[in-house]
Amino acid sequence: MNGADPLVEMRDIHVAFGGVQAVDGVSIDLYPGEVVGLLGHNGAGKSTLIKVLSGAYQSRSGEIYVQGRKAEIHNPRDARKYNIETIYQTLALADNLDAAANLFLGREIRQRNGLLDEVRMEAEARQILKRLNPNFTKFHQPVASLSGGQRQAVAIARAVYFEAKILIMDEPTAALGVEETRMVADLIQQLKREGIGIFLISHDIHDVFDLADRLTVMKNGKLVGTVRTQDVTQDEVLGMIILGKMPEGAAQKADA
């Protein structure tokens, strides 16, 4: 893109479940301040690919480079060390715990005596959630009792609080209303301005077309191609998703 190193590069990733090639030799990259939409039908392998990056799955072969350096990601903890944060489609919240407990899950703040510093965690949670969603008030209830948008705010807060450099959002607006979808879009714009790279995964082109700088399309575990959003029409991308073919003329510019 503009000469800078990519934030993250996944090269020739292979993932197999049993005999099925879920991801078959896919390479993608992401630059600072960029939104890359990852598109494809359900089962195209996009979630699987991205779970390799977030440490939830292991690739059979292939390499990951973070800011030009080879990265070893074997579990979610490793991914977090590289400031890779993931907002899963399921949100990955423990429904029985409150917002602060979920926000800090796996990275709790402790007092000097080793016990959880619950008050400090609640204070931090209040601060960041107020910023993301001013209507957020239920700090002592289990997150099971929150609305879809508030639950999403908790999941996003988790990524933002820990200063993600690379943010993965899996179908972020699938379960949200119009108002909340707009809030997520605003947030993505804001994070982009802060120089964070974002992978936006969706099976619906309308969710990502206006937000993404580039679009990567997958079909049946294979990479169809990557295009710059400004070079293509929605129909052309739809063609890539359905037919698995690059549109005329766009192919050469993909890796610009």
Binding site: L93, D95, L97, N102, L105, V119
Partner: protein, 427 residues
């Protein structure tokens, strides 16, 4: 909302716990009337507290296991095995080891400690084995511990080919309560006053912490009411325990044993808090802190609420599972010590059906079998409810088979009521 409802809400009292306390009081009153005034007496309540201790200790860690979406069916058998193991350690191995050339040193002062530590180590080891198979080899806990139920009961028999070990070490027997195993008058009051001070301190501390960040506070009167109520309960408990007189013959024995000077007007001794109840109290506090204030406890609840989320948050759920079962093994050993010490002997039937009592105590106490929810305090209350029913029915002469029928029905009913309550409060 009614005035009572508003008051309780301001105090942030868990109404489900309150309901259980209410149910317990109803049971106590009913048996008190039915037995013609024998149930709510210092003597009976003392016995009840001792009888509850063994199951309640195990229930404390069964809560963690069930919260993490596992189950342990082996605790009764494990208790039996560990009781036999500790029986052999204290009556055969250690006397020889400490005795040397002059023959076995029965009654050596260190025997009880070393025995208990050996039992705890063995319990932890067995817990680790079961936890490893469940966590790392991914065999369901139900199957592993069902196997354990058979294995450890069989192993208990094998230790002495079925012979009963009796009598146990004299010092070890204190762990089971009785005239020798109590705190008597002043130590009981010291424990009671210390507990009240700890309650007040923790309430004050929580308030101070919340002020640090300008959080909304409970009204002051609510804090005072809670502190006063809890302290009153502690004081009432100690007062009850210390008004139960040790029979004069047993009291003379204790005086002789401890080398106390006998006053001129004869011996007067009250039981006070029983040692097993003190042990239960300490374990309850430690386990509550572990469950609610440490990373470990937080992860247990996260695993129960959403195992996938826990894993994606970087929690090593396999290792967590192993440790949860290690804790269960340790508490089984402590329970085994209490149970066998109370009987003053170990036989391979100790702890039979205890797995069901322990699970029932946890479940009656509000632990959800689908995971993610449960409290230590609730489980102890659950154990007390079950023991109250059983003792009460025995006192009024209900046959053992009928007792089981009643307790079985109560278990199902308690869980049904709990679910009704949850459905109503969560919508």
């Amino acid at each position: 909302m009614t005035v009572v409802g508003r008051t309780l809400k301001a105090m942030e009292v868990d109404t489900r716990i309150l309901g259980m306390v209410g149910a317990l009081l109803v049971i106590w009153l009913a048996f008190h009337i039915w037995t013609g005034g024998l149930f709510i007496t210092p003597r009976n309540l003392f016995n009840l507290s001792v009888q509850t201790a063994s199951v309640a200790v195990m229930a404390c860690s069964m809560v963690l296991i069930i919260v993490a979406r596992h189950i342990d069916l082996s605790v009764g058998s494990l208790l039996g095995f560990l009781a036999m193991f500790m029986g052999v350690v204290q009556t055969e191995w250690l006397p020889d080891l400490f005795g040397g050339a002059e023959g076995p040193a029965f009654g050596h002062a260190w025997i009880w400690v070393v025995t208990l530590l050996a039992g705890i180590a063995m319990g932890a080891l067995i817990g680790a084995l079961q936890g490893y198979i469940i966590g790392f080899l991914a065999v369901p806990a139900f199957i592993v511990t069902l196997g354990g139920l058979l294995v450890w009961r069989g192993a208990a028999w094998w230790i002495t080919t079925g012979q009963t070990i009796s009598p146990l070490d004299a010092n070890f027997r204190w762990l089971g309560g009785g005239a020798e195993g109590s705190l008597y008058l002043w130590p009981s009051w010291i424990v009671g006053i210390f507990t009240c001070a700890a309650i007040c301190f923790s309430i004050w501390w929580a308030r101070r912490e919340r002020r640090r960040f300008d959080f909304p506070q409970k009204p002051l009167w609510a804090e005072y009411t809670i502190a006063a109520t809890l302290s009153a309960l502690v004081i009432a408990f100690v007062a009850t325990m210390t008004s139960y007189q040790v029979p004069s013959r047993a009291a003379e024995r204790v005086y002789a044993l401890r080398g106390w000077e006998v006053p001129e007007d004869g011996v007067h001794l009250v039981f006070g808090i029983a040692i097993p109840v003190l042990i239960l109290g300490i374990i309850a506090v430690v386990m509550t802190i572990l469950a609610r204030r440490t990373r470990f406890g937080r992860y247990v609840f996260a695993m129960g609420g959403n195992p996938d989320a826990a894993q994606l948050a970087g929690i090593n759920t396999k290792r967590m599972t192993l440790w949860i079962f290690v804790i269960m093994g340790v508490l089984c050993a402590i329970s085994a010590a209490i149970a066998s010490a109370r009987l003053a002997s170990a036989d391979n039937a100790v702890g039979t059906l205890d797995e069901l009592r322990v699970i029932a105590a946890a479940v009656i106490g509000g632990t959800s079998l689908s995971g993610g929810r449960g409290t230590i305090f609730g489980a102890i209350l659950g154990a007390l409810v079950m023991q109250s029913l059983q003792s009460g029915m025995a006192m009024v002469g209900v046959d053992a088979p009928m007792q089981n029928i009643v307790i079985g029905i109560v278990l199902v009913l308690a869980v049904y009521v709990d679910q009704l309550y949850r459905r109503r409060t969560e919508d």
